[in-house]
């Protein structure tokens, strides 16, 4: 399998976290803004009642015989009733001299132009003070009456607490909604990336065409790089394919020359020791070319097993073609290849790999079979699609059956027969890549039986 890439964070999580963080910030902001706004409004409410109280007292002020009389209404204080039973304090001054009320109630430093509202500490409590003044004109007197009314803020803070609680739960609800939205948005945003990944993953191993599906503009550089990479990969793959082909050609062609000459010479030479040498030469050439071929095959199979081509094929047709191809070789040893196919065996798989694997099995059977024997090849569909190859040779050494399919291992009785250990390994790898297995056993008559199932 391909090496998994290094992971550092997740784009989706980062997006979600950013959105959620933003939402949390907004929720907090909302909380504070609404709270301070509510505080302002509540304060305005208290202020307006205090103002009404102050003005109802001021309005009642009259100057009678230079004496100030203030017969203020009962409502001046009753309007200050609150559910929290807030305390009420007041002070009435005439030109800076206390006429009535609480002498120690904080007064404005600037008596000439008092601020209308003031928040101060009185008797250990925070009070809101509203102050107003009025000038009274008598016959020959001019006097200034200043009235301050103060109230504690218990009801105000109760209201504020209640608003805070409401706003907090509203903010939390908003935040939760935003969290849900964030997840939705982040998955929607990440969807094109997922689609791209899927379309790349679904491609066959040979498919190195550039990606042409439209993508969001932010992903275009990635897709462009990917396309460039694939183009280079394609180039380098075909280059190395050409290189391997060229190398094989360079090696195999001289080998073929040598082999041909050796064979020709063998026919012309009479002296037995020279003939023996030539035969060894031919055997060595055969072995080296076969080993090289199988090594390349095995490498190719290992590569392809990671990226199986999935095509619908008929196992029977595939084996039949192989048998036909191998018949001339079998005939040279007077060996009969008997093929039995009970019915079409459809399966999804990689034709090239399957062909290679089964050819290796039949090749092996041909190698180990004696002249004028029969090799039975049967293709069956149930329980799993499988190909069984039975020969009439010496069979597998019983103590080595388990090891036989291991790479490069060779049976004891294979001495003198050109390399075949890799053939079984290839077959087993192909079977495993298709989710199947390779089973080795000996038949009752003593021959080898290999069952390749997928």
């Amino acid at each position: 399998m391909a090496e998994p890439g290094q992971v550092q964070g997740s784009l989706r999580n980062r997006l979600a976290v950013t959105l959620i963080g933003g939402a949390a910030l907004l929720a907090l902001l909302l909380f504070f803004v609404v709270r301070s706004y509510a505080a302002q409004i509540a304060q305005q409410g208290q202020d307006s009642i205090l103002t009404a109280s102050v003005s109802s007292i001021l309005d009642a002020a009259v100057l009678r015989d230079d004496q100030v009389e203030i017969d203020f209404p009962y409502a001046a204080f009753s309007m200050l009733t609150t559910p929290a039973d807030d305390q009420v304090f007041y002070a009435i001054y005439r030109d800076g001299e206390l006429l009535s009320g609480y002498a120690d109630l904080p007064q404005q430093a600037d008596r000439a132009a008092p601020k209308q509202f003031q928040t101060a500490q009185y008797d250990g409590k925070t009070v809101r003070i509203s102050t107003a003044a009025r000038t009274l004109l008598g016959a020959d007197v001019r006097t200034r009456i200043t009235v301050s009314v103060a109230q504690t803020q218990d009801a105000l803070s109760e209201t504020l607490n209640q608003i805070s609680t409401n706003v907090a739960s509203f903010g939390f609800g908003f935040f939760m909604l935003a969290v849900l939205l964030s997840f939705w948005v982040s998955s929607v945003t990440i969807a094109p990336l997922k689609r791209l990944t899927t379309s790349v993953t679904r491609r066959g191993p040979q498919d190195l065409r550039p990606l042409t599906k439209p993508v969001p503009s932010e992903m275009l550089p990635l897709v462009n790089s990917l396309n460039t990479l694939m183009r280079r990969l394609n180039q380098s793959l075909s280059q190395s394919e050409d290189f391997i082909a060229e190398a094989a050609h360079r090696v195999r062609t001289p080998l073929a020359t040598v082999r041909s000459y050796a064979e020709t010479t063998l026919q012309r030479v009479d002296k037995e020791e020279n003939r023996q040498a030539l035969r060894s030469m031919v055997r060595a050439i055969d072995e080296s070319s076969r080993a090289a071929g199988q090594l390349l095959d095995h490498a190719m199979i290992t590569f392809r097993a990671d990226h199986l081509e999935h095509e619908d094929l008929d196992l029977g047709d595939l084996v039949q073609e192989l048998v036909q191809r191998l018949t001339p070789v079998a005939e040279m040893k007077d060996i009969d290849l008997v093929l039995q196919i009970d019915r079409p065996v459809r399966l999804i798989g990689d034709a090239i790999l399957l062909q290679n694997a089964i050819r290796n099995l039949i090749d092996n059977a041909l190698k180990y079979s004696p002249s004028e024997s029969v090799i039975e090849i049967s293709v069956t569909a149930s329980p799993h699609p499988q190909v069984a190859v039975r020969d009439q040779g010496a069979g597998f050494p019983s103590d080595e059956i388990a090891d036989l399919a291991q790479r490069f291992s060779r049976g004891n009785n294979a001495r003198g027969t050109i390399g075949s250990g890799l053939g079984l390994t290839i077959a087993q790898d192909v079977a495993a890549a298709h989710g199947g297995s390779l089973t080795l056993s000996n038949t009752a008559g003593g021959g080898a039986c290999v069952i390749f199932s997928v």
């Binding site: 017969d71 203020f72 009962y74 001046a76 009420v88 304090f89 009435i92």
Partner: protein, 343 residues
């Protein structure tokens, strides 16, 4: 009964003795009755405007469960209480008074401490500090003998007409609070004046006929009983009914037009030497008036229980109570009242 209650009239040799108390009694728990001179005992000092007789069953019941507690019960006029208390607030654990306005102002001025876990109707408490425990209407008490053959007036207007009809009977035989001296009298007067102009007309009629002014309900009822008075206006009906020897001779009329109703209130002082015990006492007060199982244990009219909100004529506990306590307002009100009633 395991406990014996002692009623001791002590002669306390302290600076307080300079004070001119209407009454002063010390109640001791059962465990203390033999050690009269024990000064280490936990003592609760209650400053009250209510006659001792009304509080004896309440205090006894309280001490029944607390044998090692003693209570000093000090009685003064409602206006006096305000004066006495403001001079030495740390010497008293509880202040109980019928002058709602003065009680309210004391609480507003921060002299009371809250009892957070006490559950009472909203209208019967203020700032969880000032607690009402009675509902007592101001009554017109009539000496029945002087109305023989004449209808008993049911409203202030009828009273005015009755007085105008037979001025010779009522001349100098009318009584009411001297609101300059009585806090409760001032409260009733200001609330009456606020409610209706009839009050001033009545006051003027009473002034024309000649009215005796009293400091306390008790004295007025005594003078009604002995015939010095024919009518007493704005008397606490409960006091009249409580005196069995007068009950037959007097008729208590609650003015049908607007019976001004006062609530007796109490609070634990902010600087109470025994705050927990004092709170216990307030809880006890609320409990006994609520239960009312034993009519003998609570002699005062309990809070109106049938209604969620008090009757409209009940004086509300709120900042408005401070209106007539204002120096300017009080001066004006007293000036007008004096002009009306004193000829």
């Amino acid at each position: 009964m395991r406990y014996i209650f002692c009623l001791i009239l002590a002669l306390w040799p302290l600076a307080l003795s300079a004070q001119n108390w209407e009454d002063r009694q010390i109640f001791r728990g059962a465990a203390l009755h033999d050690t009269a001179a024990n000064t280490d005992a936990v003592q609760l000092r209650i400053l009250s405007s209510t006659d001792t007789a009304f509080f004896i069953p309440i205090i006894r019941r309280f001490l029944a469960d607390r044998p090692s507690v003693s209570i000093e019960y000090l009685v003064a006029g409602s206006a006096q209480i305000d004066h006495i208390f403001r001079q030495a607030p740390a010497q008293y654990d509880l202040v109980i008074s019928s002058a709602m306005d003065l009680q309210f102002k004391l609480t507003n001025d921060g002299y009371a401490q809250p009892i957070e876990d006490l559950v009472t109707p909203d209208w019967a408490q203020w700032r969880q500090s000032l607690f009402a425990f009675t509902s007592e209407p101001a009554a017109i008490v009539i000496r029945r003998a002087d109305f023989d053959g004449h209808p008993i007036p049911q409203t202030r207007q009828e009273l005015i007409e009755a007085m105008r009809a037979r001025p010779e009977v009522f001349r100098n035989r009318l009584g009411t609070y001297d609101i300059r001296r009585s806090g409760l009298g001032y409260l009733f007067a200001t609330q009456d004046a606020r409610a209706s102009e009839t009050y001033w007309r009545l006051t003027e009629v009473m002034g024309n006929l000649g009215t005796r002014l009293y400091c306390c309900s008790g004295d007025m009822i005594t003078d009604l009983a002995n015939g010095k008075l024919a009518v007493a206006y704005n008397v606490l009906g409960s006091y009249a009914l409580a005196r069995s020897e007068t009950a037959s001779a007097l008729t208590v009329v609650l003015a049908a037009d607007f019976p001004t109703t006062m609530m007796r209130t109490g609070f634990v002082t902010a600087s109470a030497p025994q705050p927990e015990l004092a709170k216990e006492f307030i809880r006890h007060l609320i409990r006994v008036q609520t239960q009312a199982v034993d009519p003998e244990s609570f002699l005062l009219p309990p809070l109106i229980q049938s209604q969620i909100t008090p009757a409209q004529s009940t004086i509300a506990l709120g900042p408005a109570l401070m209106t007539y306590l204002d120096r300017l307002k009080r001066r004006m009100f007293l000036k007008e009242w004096t002009r009306a009633i004193i000829r």
